[in-house]
Chain length 194, copies 2
DNA sequence: CTATCATATATCAGTTCGATATAGTCAATC
DNA sequence: GATTGACTATATCGAACTGATATATGATAG
């Protein structure tokens, strides 16, 4: 799924600036299962404007560089929905340096192994908190995209969030139950070797 | 983690060709949490050879294009282990078109939503089977990297595999328990609207 | 008998990331 | 009262990487 399509999707929740779109992928609704950087979002928005799929209004008022608020056109909305129907979703891909490194646990000091596992757990703990769309810690001004016009939580988002949380919980549970066992095993191997 | 480091890691398990390294990331040991394509592996191996971190032996015997079997040098091995100690692991990143699309479940036909969920489940079912390093379905000639010189399963790999399986299981369980609920919710919203 | 798949290397266009530049506001810290 | 860092906001660019393609051949399946 290319950044153009992702931008259209981001704008399905209402108007936004390029910066706000990035935030949706950085901290917001989509952050846990899609990635897009500013370096790809801005060119994508330019292209989409040329193709008539989005329009923008410039707001100059604030002394700062002009703020371009983008919005889907009808054509853009139709194109996005058509893409959803026609696109065969790509394979999921998960990328984790920590898991890759843990693969070599035997070659590392045990303290590093433990630190990596703890880091992994901490990140998933944090993620679990961030995922919850009901979580009102977040500043209200942030466009959440998870709620529809009536402020109701969209069922699709709810499902996806629940799934994410289930995965986090499973990860944390596994670590609780297996971390010590791994460390013990590594220790006993080290002593056997020497 | 750049491809050079990934290649060094791949060669920690013993000698391999560029093609075999790709397989480790495509189907093999690392496939579920790291990605590397041929287009990046070959240049990386060339660079590593220049830097003296790997060496290769050309085997021409088979009528086919020369087969270059790469191997870590001592310097390469040391460099990799040093990298493990010094590198701050990057954030995990998960990318899923299916979850992104499901976010817009309300705007899609219910059949598509159901198909996407089923596809998601099927992929995780398959992944769960593939992950198991004990799984001997795989052709024996494949270098698994999950076993050490003595044929024993490496504890780090075992831990990572278990974690992956726990995540798959949690995903499948969540889908079993929540799929119908989502579909019902979507149906009731559609009828309410019309 | 002809696809298609698997092995194996190599190259390249296009996409994307990550860093950087610019620039103003605001809060905090020193 | 001054500097530092964080946030908003757009834009650009080099470096890295993916995915596709080319080449070559043997094996296997239809």
């Amino acid at each position: 799924m290319d950044v153009r399509t992702l931008c259209l999707g981001a704008l399905m929740g209402g108007e936004a600036t390029g910066y706000e779109i990035r935030k949706m992928f950085e901290d917001g609704t989509f952050s846990h299962f899609q990635i897009a950087s500013l370096g790809s979002i801005y060119p994508a928005l330019t292209k989409l404007t040329q193709d008539g799929l989005v329009t923008f209004v410039e707001h100059e008022q604030e002394n700062r560089p002009d703020k371009k608020i983008y919005q889907l056109t009808q054509e853009g909305r139709r194109t996005f929905l058509r893409t959803l129907l026609q696109t065969r979703p790509a394979e999921d891909r998960y990328r984790s340096d920590i898991l890759f490194m843990l693969t070599f646990a035997e070659e590392m000091p045990i303290e590093l192994t433990e630190a990596l596992i703890d880091e992994f757990a901490a990140r998933h703990e944090l993620m679990s908190q961030q995922i919850d769309p009901e979580n009102t810690d977040k500043p209200a001004h942030q466009k959440s995209n998870a709620h529809d016009e009536n402020g109701e939580l969209k069922p699709g988002c709810c499902f996806v969030a629940g799934l994410g949380q289930a995965m986090c919980d499973a990860t944390l549970k596994f670590i609780r139950e297996n971390k010590q066992g791994l460390l013990d095993e590594l220790k006993s191997r080290k002593t056997k070797k020497s």
